[in-house]
Subunit: 271 residues, 2 copies
């Protein structure tokens, strides 16, 4: 079964996409074509969106699903005229929320993913810069780090650091455990002072070999023997040194970031 | 007015946070303390969450707002027993969605921000690696790029590229327009073949000077005179070469990424 789903917003449509996509993941048997329509912030653009939705309805012989987070009431109304099933997050929850809070909302478009709190936004940008300049062991000056990910080369440290920095303003450094480091079962000396900030990432040796093979085909670095040796040595070090760790084999960067922030107690309020 | 808001989920809580935070941005007059409770996936953790919420209710003398995306019905019920106002995205929209689709949902925890489609996830990781190895003009081999951001140093190119890569699997390179490039009003030669992939980022000279001052205090590089010269020359080049552009002065990376993908027609389906 094939259906089209639209994520429509007068802002970036990131909320609409997150909201709609989450619901759709619960219907594994349906093949959804998912289309994002951001910045629908004029009546003209709303009419364009309605045309698009109506054309999809005809092409599919099935009314599309429309997940909307349009803030502007008048533009929102325009959308409701489309030949689709509209799920509107704002109109559904706003009224009860106003009652509970005892204040009326002050409708503001594009707040959820705008600059918001300028200070928090700058923290995110600074953290991203930090992650880039403290990636892959480039810098051993780790006093400013909120978290330091350690693991063998290609275990997924970099994207996880970037995600934590970009989204949560967390200063995340990472250090690759080298063959030399792995010759002894203890942490490299310069990391011992930062023990409380350390988090290990590990990975199945088979998956690691695949990833490395893609990078350096036929190399010793990518051989299953080498990958097994490194992963075993790294896991043993993490165990002996009691560094908390997670496997990246079946976890997304979003899952890893959420778990690491939870375990290290780095639950920043970043908005 | 101060209120506590909880974002609760049996997964990463990214959807719950996005959903709740979006609604809360519409109440600028209220000071919300926002707390994320991810991975509430057992009855025990649900009871812990309820305790936390109830303690906040007592401390605030006000029932907290609770935005939930718990998928598991039984665990969800447990949460509803808390002394907070629970807004449940799944239970609100799931029933109408099931009726429309004519199929029952197959409840699956942690799908929204899990690995999902493994192929799409690998694309995101590969694109992130691409962004890192094609950052700041490191590589002039840009055939594989989906988009190439150009602009003066510190105009916001890197975080925007990383966001597009990490979220949308878009291969985003960036190239800093150097003083030498800016001496002539035309695009650097090696960029001319990639004209259709180019997107300019610009910024107010005053803001740029601030950012550069933070990086290299007292330098010619950070002087307002230099910043004005570079920004004017870059904007003139973008205009003459008809490269679409955006200002990063008041836009977040989320807004920039959404607009760039929309304007270049890079509306990938990444799920």
């Amino acid at each position: 079964m094939r259906r089209t789903a639209f994520f429509v917003s007068d802002g970036t449509a990131i909320t609409a996409e997150t909201f709609g996509h989450s619901l759709l993941t619960q219907f594994a048997c349906v093949d959804f074509r998912q289309i994002r329509l951001p910045f629908v912030d004029t009546h003209e653009k709303a009419r364009d969106a309605v045309s698009l939705i109506n054309r999809a309805a005809e092409a599919d012989s099935n009314r599309p699903l429309v997940f909307s987070t349009i803030v502007d009431g008048e533009i929102g109304k325009e959308l409701f005229a489309c030949n689709g099933h509209v799920f509107d997050m704002f109109s559904t929850f706003m009224e009860p929320l106003e009652k509970i809070l005892g204040v009326e909302r002050s409708p503001r478009v594009g707040q959820a993913h705008g600059m918001g709190n300028a200070h928090a936004y700058e923290d995110r940008m600074e953290a991203t810069n930090y992650a880039l300049t403290h990636d892959d062991g480039i810098s051993k000056k780790l006093d400013q780090a909120d978290v330091i990910l350690i693991g063998v080369s290609r275990s997924g440290k970099t994207p996880t650091c970037l995600y934590m920095a970009l989204h949560y303003g967390v200063k995340a450094a990472n250090y690759p455990l080298t063959e030399e480091d792995l010759e002894q079962p203890r942490l490299p000396v310069f990391l011992r002072n930062h023990r409380h900030k350390l988090f290990g990432l590990t990975i199945d040796a088979e998956r690691l070999a695949q990833i490395r093979e893609h990078r350096r085909p036929g190399s010793r670095y990518a051989s299953i023997k080498q990958c097994r040796y490194e992963v075993e040595a790294a896991e043993s070090m993490l165990r002996i040194e009691k560094v908390p760790s997670l496997s990246t084999t079946d976890s997304s960067v979003e899952e890893l970031a959420s778990r690491i922030l939870l375990e290290l107690g780095l639950q920043r309020e970043v908005f």
